[in-house]
């Protein structure tokens, strides 16, 4: 039995990754998870300079899910390279750095600073719903997405994954724009722009008014969008959105995903990633599935 998957020439020991923003840069989870057993750690978004993020409250629970409006707080690429990356490199797992920016120049600044770094892939966040400039703006217009993807690809030393927003009319169009501009892979979905109101206080629950909805509540929509995207492009798709169990992850793989990422459920159970990875192995074993290629996109 072989759980390996390969994306743009990079081989992962299993298909389970962490969704950006839900796993910091791994350190906090090392008390709960053997990082050596993950397919990849996808870092929280890294910007060219430290970002303070949004005011609190930044998180709220919703039925089967949660809203967040962290606003991509991060210490910036210099500290990431000095502190967080060396920590992650102690482990036998792939490192994918999520890159965020307010402008094309800021994305390129981070991509350039990462060029000599020992990271396996870059994931470009063009889909964060919680920052005013950049972020989602690049991920909701196929022309803007094409421009960012093309420019990042020219500058990047590592293979490039474009992380797509579900807050679009046609995910297939966005997937094709990324592919045509040269992306090596796409990942989806980021969170849905959403809102919660405190009816006693007659106020928004989040200081940012809106936040991104994640968690099991969004999984069926995520599976549909991954299916559509995977059938619209030839490049690999990393599927995510509400994955809580190995069975959820297998749904995404059967929808056409090459790999999967676990997000909000890390906040429920810090060891969920390993349980998903072990569960996929058990599923394959019990059904005599030799490798994930034999079930990928089988529906």
């Amino acid at each position: 039995m072989n759980t390996n998957v390969t994306i743009a020439g990079v081989t992962f020991q299993n298909p389970v990754m962490t969704a950006s923003g839900t796993f910091a840069s791994g350190l906090e989870y090392s008390e709960f998870v053997d990082l050596n057993r993950l397919g990849a750690v996808v870092t929280k978004g890294v910007a060219s300079v430290p970002w303070p993020g949004n005011p609190t409250p930044r998180v709220a629970e919703t039925y089967g899910g949660m809203l967040n409006a962290i606003g991509l707080q991060n210490p910036g690429v210099d500290v990431f390279l000095e502190r967080d990356l060396p920590y992650l490199k102690q482990f036998d797992t792939r490192v994918i750095v999520n890159v965020c920016g307010h402008s094309l120049e800021e994305y390129l600044d981070v991509v350039n600073k990462l060029a000599d770094a020992d990271v396996d892939m870059l994931e470009i966040n063009v889909s964060c719903p919680n920052v005013r400039e950049g972020g989602i703006a690049f991920g909701q217009d196929p022309k803007a997405l094409f421009t960012v993807t093309e420019a990042v690809k020219k500058a990047a030393a590592q293979p490039v994954i474009m992380k797509l927003s579900p807050n679009v009319t046609d995910i297939k169009e966005m997937a094709r724009a990324a592919e045509e501009a040269g992306a090596d892979a796409i990942s989806l979905i980021n969170t849905f722009t959403a809102m919660k109101i405190d009816i006693d206080k007659r106020r928004f629950v989040l200081a940012n008014k809106t936040g991104g909805l994640s968690g099991p509540a969004i999984k069926p929509i995520a599976v549909r969008m991954v299916y559509e995207a995977a059938h619209a492009v030839k490049i690999p798709v990393i599927g995510m959105g509400g994955i809580a169990t190995a069975e959820d992850a297998i749904e995404f793989i059967m929808a056409g995903a090459t790999a999967v990422a676990v997000g909000a459920m890390n906040f429920h159970d810090p060891a969920v990633t390993i349980k998903v990875a072990e569960g996929i192995e058990a599923f394959m074993q019990s059904r005599n599935i030799p490798d994930l290629d034999s079930i990928r996109g089988c529906v």
Binding site: G21, T22, F23, A24, E28, Y29, S30, E31, F32, V33, D34, K44, P50, W51, P52, G53, T56, P57, R58, V59, A60, E61, Y63, G64, G65, M66, N68, I70, Q73, P75, G76, V79, G215, P216, A264, M265, N266, F267, H268, D269, P270, A271
Partner: protein, 252 residues
């Protein structure tokens, strides 16, 4: 890997004041917890994703006690658990209070009172304990066995009419270090009092949390200096706190 979620059992639970519940849980977490730390408590309901961060009120061998207020549907369900029921928890989390053997003033406001009990039991010096309530008292008898308790109630039904600050303003309470947990306006006033009297103050903060382990950055509070972890003026309440030196945090 040293920590994991564990399914523990409720030893017993009782309502100790209107909407305030006291639950003893059988768990080894008790043996490593220090005063001021908290646990994540999961609700036995898959629609509720996030754990409830609840301060540890006191500990015994292989058992700990939480005292919490019903704040919503999740804590309402928690309040229905009976002796023997499973309860999934994670911890201990957060940093805890630095212990001192000097004369101490402990200040608890409302649902900020419970962590003061384990702290009061751990502190070896003389203790002045100031407790603020809306109306109905709880834990005051247990705290009275650890030090000299003064009570303030907003409706004037017991002790000083008003808040803990009204007790402090009378000048009858003194000490060399302050420990406080309670609502933000109280912490703000305690910080000012500590600055005015040049006394170090350790305050326990509260914020909406998701992960509880320092990863999601949901529960940050403003810091007065640039934080070495975040490189911005933010600290994580769950990981860098919940206890902070009052001078470290910007409560304005």
């Amino acid at each position: 890997m040293t920590k994991e979620m564990q399914t523990a059992n409720v030893i017993r639970q009782e309502c100790i004041a209107d909407g305030i519940y006291s639950m003893w849980i059988a768990t080894s977490i008790a043996n490593t917890a220090v005063p001021g730390q908290f646990i994540s408590v999961y609700i036995n309901d898959a629609s509720k994703l996030l754990p409830r961060p609840i301060s540890i009120c006191e500990t015994g061998e292989d058992r700990l006690r939480i005292v919490y207020r019903i704040a919503g549907e999740g804590t309402r369900q928690l309040a229905s658990y009976h002796s023997g029921d499973p309860v999934t928890i994670l911890g201990p989390l957060g940093n805890g209070f630095p212990l001192s053997d000097e004369d101490a003033i402990l200040i608890g406001g409302g649902i900020g009172i419970p962590p003061m009990l384990s702290l009061a039991k751990a502190l070896t010096g003389k203790k002045e304990i100031v407790l603020g309530y809306r109306s109905e008292l709880f834990l005051q008898d247990e705290l009275a066995s650890c030090g000299n308790v003064s009570v303030a109630t907003e409706d004037g039904s017991s002790g000083t009419s008003g808040t803990v600050m009204d007790v402090l303003q009378t000048g009858t309470v003194s000490g060399k270090v302050i420990y406080a947990c309670g609502p933000l306006p109280m912490l703000r006033a305690v910080k000012q009092y500590a600055l005015d009297h040049n006394i170090p103050a350790w305050i326990s903060m509260e914020e909406r949390m998701a992960c509880g382990i320092g990863a999601c950055l949901g529960c940050v509070c403003a810091s007065t200096e640039q934080d070495p972890h975040s490189l911005v003026f933010n600290k994580r309440v769950c990981k860098d706190g919940p206890v902070f030196n009052a001078k470290e945090v910007d409560l304005t």
